[in-house]
């Protein structure tokens, strides 16, 4: 064969080609192959020469036959990429062909070159992926890009940058129009300064600014950029452009809400605090600070009840805190009394509401309390006033009954006696009836006088309280009653401090002392000499004069409610008129005081006279 040796020598050259190369004749038979090609496609090596390419690579596309046929006609075309699996590794090969000429420029076949494009493909894929990710990322974060080329004075905006500016996609920005988008004033000045500084000093920038979009909307953006250099020459800038309007607006909104809440909490006329799970305060409002007498909230933050209140109060409050936080049941509007470290008492209307986390367990509590000490005080005063008025009312009704009863009994007598007189013929009997009438008339006068005395006590508001020395007053009364006391072998034990003064209406005090002293002696026990002791004590509201006798005593179960009534007498005593204690009681009450009594029949009686020194 003529061809044979020529093939052989050419074959050796081809063998050494550094690329994967194969020569096929017009019948697709493999004629030559580079060692690299043989090596790459492995064991097919020895036997493949002379075999049809499509038999050796059955996976090759049939289309390639026509491509190769065209090549045989002198028209080489690209073939494409083919996967080849080797050692469980996928490899991508790009096949290309060119015409194979003999010395006479006759096409005798095709030269096929194969390139391993696996890496390139991978890179391309990677790049594609990165591009997609970047695009998504910038879309999600609303971050656009821009570039400025100084030499050509050209600005490029990416799609996102354009959409942030709300301009159409064919909008062509310029440096000056770009800057015009920034809001006049701070934003525009700031960006101009930033560009200037970048130009002069190479400083990058990243600042939050406001722009006015093409449609006139105000937007917050994060504008960032840095200068670009080429051979130390400034050639432009590049940077990002992020729409941060939502975050900034949300942030501003949050800050506004926070401020609103704080203003509200601080200006509530209530003490508001938040406590953590350990009962330590983590938020206090102004009212709470003022109430607890501190200037700065830092003095209260981190403090618990034991730092603020006395031990008992703190214990009570802490137990309450724990109860609210464990039961998750709020306490609403409960009245509590606290004592601080200085011993000051305060009454609060307090509410404690548990603070819950996402899982519904408590992380602390919110406390709201109102200092109602003053209101309580007012309420107490009001209640006292009501007590006084209802007492007055009762007294008035009682007095009306007394008046009506006493006058009625006299008038009944008058009417009866006058009726007798009318029909009486016996002169002596007439005389008797007239005497009776006379006595009835005297009784009526007495009664009216007594009633007047009582009325005077209750209506005389002109009498003023004065400071009176109690010890001396007792001495005076004692000396006035000297004969009476001596006659009864009585003894007065004056245990009042000598300089003790009492704010009273002097006439009333005298009358009161006379009454108790005469009573104590008048109702003496038959088996012993009367001894009367007087002493003084005091409590929050009153000075208390205690008069103790060793006399007959009174059965208070029987007579207690009548003891101070008018015309009530309890002992068969000729001088018992039943007016003394009634008047005394009225005098004491007229001075804002009261009388209490304790007694044991046969042992004696103790009267406690409460003097109210207020006006």
């Amino acid at each position: 064969m003529l061809i044979g040796p020529r093939i052989q020598s050419t074959s050796y050259l081809i063998k050494q080609l550094p690329t994967l190369t194969v020569f096929i004749d017009r019948e697709f038979k493999i004629m030559h192959a580079s060692d690299k090609w043989l090596y790459t496609f492995g064991e097919r090596s020895n036997t493949i020469f002379g075999q049809c390419l499509f038999k050796v690579f059955p996976e090759l596309s049939i289309k390639w036959k026509s491509v190769l046929n065209e090549c045989f006609e002198g028209k080489s075309n690209p073939m494409g990429v083919q996967i080849y699996e080797q050692n469980e590794q996928k490899k991508w090969y790009e096949w290309s062909n060119t015409c194979w000429f003999d010395e006479n420029e006759n096409i005798i076949g095709a030269i096929i070159q194969i390139n391993d494009v696996t890496e390139a493909l991978k890179n391309e894929l990677e790049l594609e992926k990165t591009k997609v990710q970047l695009k998504q990322q910038s879309e999600i974060s609303k971050t656009g890009r821009w570039e400025y080329d100084i030499i050509n004075d050209e600005i490029t905006w990416c799609d996102i940058t354009r959409s942030i500016h709300e301009v159409s996609q064919d909008y062509v920005p310029r440096l000056d129009t770009g800057i015009q988008f920034y809001k006049e004033g701070y934003s525009r000045n700031a960006i101009s300064m930033a560009i200037f500084e970048a130009q002069e000093k190479g400083k990058p920038w990243s600042i939050k600014l406001q722009i006015i979009t093409a449609t006139g909307k105000e937007k917050w953006v994060l504008a960032a950029g840095k200068p670009l250099y080429e051979k130390r020459e400034l050639v432009g800038f590049t940077g990002t452009f992020q729409d941060i309007n939502e975050q900034v607006v949300a942030n501003i909104e949050t800050k506004k809400n926070e401020k609103l809440l704080r203003t509200l909490v601080d200006n509530l006329p209530l003490n508001v605090y938040v406590k953590d799970i350990n009962s330590k305060k983590i938020l206090v409002n102004k009212a709470e600070c003022e109430h607890l007498g501190v200037k700065n909230e830092d003095e209260l933050l981190g403090k618990d009840n034991f730092d603020i209140y006395d031990y008992e109060t703190a214990k009570r409050f802490t137990e309450q805190d724990i109860k609210v936080m464990t039961s998750l049941v709020p306490i609403l509007g409960e009245e509590v009394i606290s004592t601080d470290k200085k011993g000051r008492q305060t009454t609060y209307l307090t509410s404690k509401i548990p603070l819950l986390d996402g899982q519904g367990s408590s992380t602390g509590l919110i406390g709201i309390s109102l200092d109602i000490t003053n209101i309580k005080q007012k309420e107490k005063e009001l209640r006292n006033l009501i007590d006084v008025t209802s007492l007055q009312n009762k007294k008035l009704i009682n007095f009306a009954h007394i008046v009506s009863h006493n006058l009625r009994s006299h008038t009944a007598n008058f009417s009866m006696l006058l009726n007798f007189l009318q029909h009486e013929e016996d002169e002596e009997e007439k005389e008797t009836i007239l005497n009776m009438l006379n006595s009835a008339s005297n009784n009526l006068l007495d009664t009216i006088e007594n009633l007047n005395e009582v009325l005077a006590i209750n209506t005389n508001i002109n009498l003023k309280k004065k400071d009176v020395n109690l010890f001396d007053s007792i001495l005076t009364v004692e000396s006035n009653l000297k004969d009476f006391i001596t006659e009864n072998k009585g003894e007065i034990v004056n245990k009042i401090p000598q300089k003790q003064s009492l704010k009273v209406i002097p006439q009333y005090l005298e009358s009161i002392l006379i009454n108790f002293i005469t009573n104590g002696i008048k109702y003496k026990h038959p088996d012993r000499n009367p001894v009367l002791s007087l002493k003084l004590s005091s409590n929050e509201d009153y000075k208390i004069l205690t008069v103790t006798d060793n006399g007959l005593g009174i059965d208070l179960n029987k007579y207690g409610n009548k003891l101070f009534g008018m015309y009530k007498t309890f002992h068969s005593h000729e001088n018992a008129r039943g007016i003394g204690l009634y008047v005394t009681k009225n005098q004491v009450e007229a001075m804002g005081g009261k009388i209490e009594v304790e007694s044991e029949v046969g042992a004696g009686t103790t009267f406690k006279i409460f003097f109210n020194e207020k006006n």
Binding site: S415, M416, S572
Partner: protein, 134 residues
Amino acid sequence: MKKIKFIGIVDDDPITVFGIRKMLNTVVDCEIVEAYQNGKVAFEALHKKFSENEDIPEVIFLDINMPIMDGWQFLDEFLKLPINKRIRINIVTSSIDPFDKKKWEYYKENTHHLITFNNKPINKQDIEEITQVA
């Protein structure tokens, strides 16, 4: 004229006692009229009579407002005495306090004795009417 053996008057006011006595003289023939100056004196006297099996009054005139032991306290004690005979007790008072009337109703319901309530002034006709053996 009807006859009553024993009448009691419990009143601290001598004028009333005088008046009742005087009117009784004209309407009834009575052997004994005894007056007591308050509830305590009356109760003690009557208690003594009763325990010594002596006569006790068939009719009692009783005042309410009296010292030491008033009319109600007298009734409290007197009604406790185991007296089988029905006695007429005429309350005679100047009180127009509705509370006293309520009290009377209570006592009236809780005893076998006859208790009446009469306001002062009291005249001859009234006395005649209420002075009879129960």
